[in-house]
């Protein structure tokens, strides 16, 4: 699975590559994906085979790691509908496949989940889960839990109603679907539902916290990460932003958008929920990763999850009860003054709330958040969380928007800009116990790649101009870097090759929301373009070009 384990630590126990020898790291082999859009997927390794999924048209390659140069073992082209590219909000990305028990599972942009025989690439089943004519796409990497493939949808910028669906691993049959909005029966909220905070309890809140039937086009899509605690038998995931972005068209808390759910994977039933950003008015999705760790809080061991939210706060949440233990900003934030631990709700800065017809200046973080989808890592050796994130702010003007199925349902004009200091990205090592940053690396461009930590005392990440970096996990000191062919927005992984040695892999290829200006050949003169991202990425075309290449690194053979 892309996150390495159910706890989603992205920590590799391999230690052959370490601070003393990483400077010798060199390319073992490279492979062109043939697709020059944003490569957000994690390479997956199982049975001496590496599996990668490209952005649309979602080609799957299996590379044979037992042979020199890792030649293609098989490839599979799902031929998704070309029109699906027109309803994908932020480049036509795919966040990767997942492997389980001889099968490879992945999603296509046009809303299919496909199971392949990992040995041969033959289709075992294919299930259609959505309709691009409602604006629905799928970009997330599925997760397999207890014989079920868990899949969520994308389309929060098109008024898509969010859901998480479980499919039978053997047949692809839909076993349950939990919507993010609507009546309790649709959200799979039953008598066993007990949230920690009063405002997250009540009947049919997915309807009553919306005007009229706005919940039907209210977003809450699930395009991020799922973690699983086998002991508690709970899955954890967050939902996306409410739609439209113009908050005046949807008075109320807009449940259950931007919400952390704990669910029983067997039935889908929700055990509790925690809405991060009730009535969100800045596009602060709740889909970022949750890392499951057991740590001491005030001297007592607690089962917690760590979640760096788009709203700029690092939530430490008791994953049994849903109580927020702490929530602290991990970068510059002025839109949220703090998280009220008595109510679980953010205290909003009234000066940064958005209104129709008014330009509100310098809202920090910007719409893509202090951090977007790109996942953090956690090292049990250092006890630190490694957060690749942004330092961006924005100007925002809301305007009224009509719902027309299959078209954008946004209603805001946004211009993003660099945050304080001018550096657009930051890589922060965060101590969740002390609730503070231990060190921070400033990066010129926003960080849109994931992070990976290893037992070799290293942390890996990439930059949008193509540098792949290894830094010391304790100090942040740069130990090694390599310039790849295009900007990096992928997820680094480490694996043990058939020869017993450690390898590190990353997909290079700029794109995604932050890189849309390059992947989509957009015009840098319109700062409102790409939902305001062009405003702060106008120079990206001068720093990198589109591409799609897998790089695999190893130490020289001795």
């Amino acid at each position: 699975m892309p996150a390495k384990n159910y706890a989603a630590t992205r920590f590799s126990a391999l230690d052959e590559i370490n601070g003393a020898n990483v400077s010798n790291l060199q390319v073992a082999f490279a492979f062109s994906t043939g697709v020059d859009h944003g490569q957000e997927a994690a390479p997956i390794v199982a049975n001496n085979t590496m599996f990668i999924v490209t952005p649309y048209p979602n080609i799957v390659f299996a590379l044979d790691l037992t042979k020199p140069g890792a030649p293609i073992k098989w490839s599979y082209q799902p031929h998704p509908a070309a029109a699906s590219q027109g309803v994908a909000c932020c480049d036509v990305v795919n966040r990767g496949a997942t492997y389980s028990d001889g099968k490879l599972f992945f999603n296509t942009l046009d809303d299919n989940t496909i199971a392949l025989d990992a040995e041969t690439g033959k289709v075992i089943w294919k299930t259609k889960l959505g309709d691009i004519n409602t604006g629905e796409t799928i970009t997330m990497a599925p997760l397999v839990v207890k014989g079920k493939v868990l899949v969520g949808d994308s389309g929060g910028e098109l008024g898509v109603r969010g859901w998480l669906t479980a499919l039978d691993v053997a047949t692809g049959k839909i076993l349950w679907r939990a919507y993010a909005t609507g009546p309790d029966r649709d959200v799979l909220i039953g008598p066993g539902f007990r949230s920690f905070y009063p405002s997250d309890n009540g009947a049919d809140l997915g309807v009553t916290t919306w005007p009229g039937d706005a919940w039907q086009t209210g977003g809450g899509t699930m395009w991020g990460w799922i973690a699983y605690d086998p002991d508690l038998n709970l899955i954890y995931y967050g939902t996306g932003n409410p739609g439209p972005w113009n908050q005046e068209q949807r008075p109320g808390d807009n449940k259950w958008t931007t919400t952390l759910f704990a669910r029983d994977p067997d039935t889908g039933e929700a055990k509790w929920a925690l809405q991060y950003n009730p009535h969100d008015e800045h596009d602060y999705d709740g889909i970022n990763e949750q890392i499951l760790v057991d740590m001491n809080v005030d001297g007592k061991p607690r089962k917690v999850l760590l979640h760096p939210d788009r709203n700029g706060h690092l939530y430490v949440v008791d994953r049994e009860s849903g109580e927020i233990i702490s929530a602290n900003p991990y970068g510059y934030v002025n839109s949220v003054l703090g998280i009220d631990l008595k109510t679980g709700r953010p205290v909003m800065n009234p000066d940064k709330l958005t209104r129709v017809g008014v330009v509100v200046h310098d809202i920090c973080p910007t719409a893509s958040g202090l951090k977007d989808w790109n996942p953090s890592a956690f090292s049990p050796l250092t006890g630190l969380m490694y957060i690749p994130h942004e330092n961006l702010c924005m100007d925002w003007k809301s305007r009224s928007v009509s719902y027309i199925a299959g078209t954008p349902f946004v209603g805001a004009e946004v211009v993003s800009k660099a945050g304080p200091g001018g550096n657009r990205g930051e890589f922060t090592a965060w101590d969740p116990v002390e609730r503070k940053a231990v060190w921070t690396i400033k990066e010129d461009l926003p960080l849109w790649s994931g992070a990976m930590a290893t037992a070799g005392g290293l942390v890996f990440y990439g930059t949008m101009d193509g540098w792949f970096k290894a830094v010391d996990a304790k100090t942040g000191e740069l130990k090694w870097q390599f310039k790849t062919g295009s900007g990096i927005i992928g997820q680094p992984v480490a694996y043990r090759g058939p020869d017993g040695h450690e390898y590190v892999a990353i997909l290079s290829g700029v794109g995604g929301w932050a890189g849309a200006i390059v992947a989509g050949d957009l015009d840098p003169r319109d700062p409102t373009g790409a939902l305001g991202m062009i405003g702060v990425m106008a120079d990206l075309k001068t720093k990198t070009a589109a591409g799609g290449t897998l790089y695999v690194f190893a130490l020289p053979k001795s």
Partner: protein
């Protein structure tokens, strides 16, 4: 009588839109009706013939001169203004923004994937295009599509974006 109302199939589609959209559509139609008495062009049909290629094998006849209807819309200020309204009301802006593009391609760059003559733009809007451009011919009437084409064409004038709202892109926020 606005042209959408004459077509029962189209009326059905519009009825499925939310009330705001319907009201907006009718308002635009009313604007058009008034404008016809002034100088805003109107049209009962799209272009006669449009090729999206510039390859014509064996010296075959190249496309006919610019479409006469298209010439009436291109550069017409009232048509462009109506087109801009529609561009917002039909959520075109959610993909193309103020010409820079996003989910959809840039319209201000001067590069047109499927041809930049106004009748070619008309057909791209009416028919849709395979990589994600929806087909609008069952929602909008010919005059509205011509208006949209006139507005889209006007964006490609190589000048600074007319519509950016605020700060220069290279500014950063003071804490």
């Amino acid at each position: 009588m606005c042209s959408p109302c004459r077509n029962p199939e189209r009326s059905k589609v519009i009825a499925r839109l939310r009330p705001i959209a319907v009201a907006a559509l009718l308002a635009v139609a009313a604007n058009n009706a008034e404008a016809q008495q002034d100088t805003a062009p109107s049209a009962g049909r799209g272009p006669n013939e449009v090729s999206v290629t510039s390859l014509f094998p064996n010296g075959a006849t190249p496309p006919r001169p610019p479409d006469a209807i298209g010439r009436r819309f291109e550069g017409n200020k009232l048509a462009i203004a109506d087109g801009e309204l529609l561009f917002n009301q039909m959520n075109c802006t959610g993909c193309h923004f103020n010409g820079g593009g996003g989910m959809g391609p840039a319209l201000m760059s001067g590069h047109w994937r499927y041809g930049g003559r106004i009748e070619q733009i008309y057909e791209s809007i009416a028919q849709g295009r395979p990589n994600g451009m929806p087909s609008w011919q069952f929602v909008l009437g010919p005059t509205q599509i011509w208006d949209l084409a006139a507005y889209a064409k006007s964006l490609s004038v190589p000048a600074p974006s007319a519509a950016s709202q605020t700060a220069a892109p290279d500014t950063s926020v003071k804490p």
